[in-house]
């Protein structure tokens, strides 16, 4: 038996023993997600147990080095762990911008001191992070950010305003892009700094969207003190790290709109709502539009597969993330428009239990933001034209 097989056997046995039964069903709503942090209220004792047990093994961040609390697993072992978790439909023990975003950035660019300070609490789900990138007057022009960090010797004093900070009102720490040098080309004077949201001068306000309430916040920074040792990488060199994280975010958003396991596919919903006549959906015009969408959706799915397969095989042109982000979010907007058409007046209701509190309409409206957040579709097209096609 290979080492990997042995690992699989052990993992399976451990999961069997340690994953509480109630944690073995798909995440159905926001409440089922465990985000951790200082102010977290566990949904259930099982949720707490499951996080603690996994964190203990470092499996909330299985590929991180064990010296920083991670699982220290190889790429193959991580894959086995995911497979075994999927086998019993185990929920992720932790949803975390720490694990997904700032952790990897600290691992790649941060000082030893920062690693020792921040990574273990992330693994244990003790500190919840939020991302301070966008600003009201920057938008697509992220590098045009105006939040100023003034050098005060051993610390900075930060003033400015961030927007679109997900869960800023619930987070413990922020990783934040600030301008440390206003006198150089705009990409060059930016630094990535870390600070506690409890620092005096930090305040947040939730943003209401066209789809209703949202996790987004505005964050106001007024004379906020940030220690110099909380800069990730070099001062003025934050743009490189920001781009690294953005590519990551883009790929996540590009995956929007795939049908989750157990959910009815769009054609299935159409068949249920409209019926079939002579083997074809009863509404011929709508059928045509659904077929067009599904052809594209399948083609997109296979493209995401191919990009991964090529990366594994060391092939591929790279640069696929802009294309995936662009196409994936546009597809999801089309999907949501089709769902509105399929469900007709039922989809137009905004409140009321019988209509799931307007979930269809709210999802539809929320999807409009997919092609804006994480770099607009226009920005992705610019990236493709410039970086891949060399047009400028």
């Amino acid at each position: 038996m290979s080492d990997l097989e042995a690992f699989r056997r052990e993992t399976r046995a451990w999961l069997e023993e340690n994953c509480p039964q109630s944690m073995r069903s798909p995440v159905m709503s926001d409440k089922d997600q465990c985000w951790g942090g200082r102010n977290w209220t566990f949904q259930s004792e099982d949720q707490r147990l499951w996080l603690e047990r996994m964190a203990e093994k470092g499996w909330t961040a299985p590929d991180w080095p064990s010296e920083y609390g991670g699982g220290g697993l190889s790429r193959e072992q991580v894959k086995v762990l995911r497979q075994e978790m999927a086998r019993i439909r185990a929920r992720p023990p932790l949803h975390s911008f720490g694990v997904w975003m700032i952790g990897p950035a600290i691992l790649k660019f941060g000082s030893e001191e920062l690693k020792r300070q921040h990574l273990p609490p992330i693994v244990r789900g003790e500190i919840r992070w939020c991302q301070g990138y966008s600003e009201p007057n920057a938008g697509s022009d992220l590098a045009g950010l105006q939040t100023r960090a003034e050098d005060k010797g051993d610390h900075f004093i930060v003033n400015g305003q961030k927007i679109w900070t997900s869960y800023a009102d619930k987070a413990d720490w922020m990783f934040c892009l600030v301008r440390t040098n206003p006198d150089v080309k705009k990409q060059l004077g930016i630094s990535l700094v870390l600070f506690d949201m409890a620092t005096p001068g930090v305040s947040t306000r939730p943003i209401k969207l066209i789809s209703g309430s949202s996790p987004f916040c505005e964050t106001f920074l007024e004379n906020v003190r940030v220690e110099k040792n909380q800069v990730v990488g070099e001062v003025d060199q934050g743009w490189t790290i920001a781009k690294y994280l953005l590519t990551h975010e883009r790929e996540m958003i590009g995956g929007f709109g795939r049908t989750a396991a157990g959910q009815k596919t769009l054609p299935q919903q159409a068949v249920e709502a409209l019926g079939v006549e002579q083997g074809r959906l009863a509404d011929g015009m709508l059928r045509g539009d659904i077929a067009r969408w599904e052809l594209d959706a399948k083609a997109f799915e296979f493209t995401a597969e191919r990009v991964v397969d090529e990366a594994k095989a060391g092939q591929g042109v790279g640069n696929a993330s802009a294309m995936l982000k662009y196409y994936g979010t546009e597809l999801n907007k089309r999907r949501q428009e089709l769902l509105m058409a399929i469900h007709g007046s039922d989809a137009m209701v905004w409140e009321g239990e019988a209509w799931n509190e307007g979930a269809l309409a709210r999802q539809w409206l929320r999807s409009k933001g997919n092609s804006i957040e994480g770099g607009t579709s226009e920005v992705q097209l610019n990236v493709i034209a410039r970086n891949i096609l060399g047009l400028r």
């Binding site: 697509s140 969207l209 409209l274 509404d283 015009m285 007046s345 226009e378």
Partner: protein, 380 residues
């Protein structure tokens, strides 16, 4: 009117409607009604002002207290309603109710109800659809003859302004099966009649519709509008008028969304320049401009055909509703995208236009429904 231009009277009505809606019923009013969770969803005071301005009586003949100004005229009012997202029962009462009575009402029915519509004292609603997608011939609701009248049982959805209506017109089956065009009868029912239940549904556009249930509702013989069993044809005429007005309102929505978006392109700066200087957005805006020009033409053409009782009016209404739905969808979606993140916030108005457009696109048939109807009418 000669050709596809407004005559002086129509232009004056349009100008008056524009001034009125901008001053008395702008977008901020809809926002206020929404945020205060107003139970009726409109302002009675505004409604009386609309009566006084003559908007409510536009389709009602002078002998019944209206101005008999015609469909092109009413279309101008609705264009301005669309521009300002004005909330009122104008559509359900002054378009659907008035048209039904005008086209099919007996003299007694007209005498009793049209003046009450024209003076704003009565609100009406049309209960027609039973499925989530428009299908006016799919009617399960039955009206059984009993004694000297009928007893109605069934369930209707998406009844616009049903929650505030004093009287309902309901399409019910006196013969045939769901899916048949024959055997449909239109009946006037008091909202207060025993067995009528109205469940208000708050819609995505912060307007209202209702699910209306009829449980053994007894109505007298003279509740029938037109001839029993022949309701489908007159219903279609009314739906055509309704769809023409919806197209006109969508035109207002699309134009206003576009104007606001172009304004934003002029103002918003990114990378040190206004975003309107980017050719990618310029070309999309120019394309949208062209589509809106087409939309204007088909709306005016359909309204004119209705006024002239043109044989091809139904086909031209389907053309107008289809094209209006398509362009309004494009204009509102481009509006959000070009407003970027700010367009996603509830604070900006552009989202309200997206929210209002979709229910109107779908009501009485969306792009696909009318493209299908258009093609079938054209022989393919």
């Amino acid at each position: 009117m000669t050709g596809l231009v407004l005559n002086d009277e129509q232009q004056m009505l349009k100008d008056a409607a524009r001034r009125f809606m901008q001053e008395r019923a702008p977008v901020s009013q809809l926002r206020k009604l929404r945020d205060e969770r107003d139970e009726t969803g409109f302002s009675r005071e505004l409604w009386q002002e609309m009566v006084e301005m003559g908007f409510v009586g536009t389709l009602i003949d002078e002998e019944y207290g209206g101005s008999g100004f015609g469909y092109v005229g009413m279309g101008q009012v609705f264009e301005e309603v669309g521009r300002n997202l004005t909330a009122s029962p104008l559509f359900a009462t002054a378009v659907l109710g008035a048209t039904l009575l005008r086209n099919t009402g007996s003299d007694a029915q007209k005498q009793a109800l049209l003046p009450a519509i024209a003076d704003g004292s009565m609100i009406m609603a049309l209960a027609v659809d039973e499925r989530a997608r428009h299908a006016p011939h799919y009617v399960e609701t039955r009206a059984e003859a009993q004694g000297d009248g009928f007893v109605i049982s069934g369930r209707k959805v998406a009844v616009v302004d049903g929650h505030v209506a004093d009287k309902l017109v309901v399409s019910a089956r006196t013969a045939g099966e769901p899916g048949d065009a024959d055997g449909l009868t239109l009946l006037l029912v008091d909202r207060a009649a025993a067995g009528v239940t109205v469940e208000r549904t708050i819609m995505v556009d912060s307007r209202n519709a209702a699910v209306v249930t009829f449980d053994q509702v007894a109505v007298p013989k003279d509740a029938v509008l037109g001839k029993a069993g022949d309701g489908y044809a007159v219903l279609q005429q009314t739906l055509d008028v309704g769809n023409a007005m919806l197209a006109a309102e969508l035109l207002g929505i699309a134009q206003e969304a576009f104007d606001r978006t172009v304004k934003y392109l002029h103002e918003r700066k990114q990378f040190g320049v206004t975003i309107g200087s980017f050719q990618g957005l310029q070309h999309r805006a120019a394309h949208l401009f062209s589509e809106i020009e087409l939309m204007k033409s088909v709306v005016l053409k359909a309204l004119t055909a209705l006024d002239q009782q043109d044989d091809s009016a139904a086909q031209l209404v389907s053309l107008a509703k289809a094209k209006a739905s398509e362009v309004a969808e494009l204009a509102t979606n481009e509006g959000i995208q070009m407003h970027g993140g700010m367009g996603m916030t509830d604070e900006f108005d552009i989202g309200l236009f997206v929210k209002r457009a979709r229910p109107m696109q779908q009501l009485f048939g969306d792009y696909r429904y009318h493209a299908d109807r258009f093609a079938a009418d054209r022989g393919y």
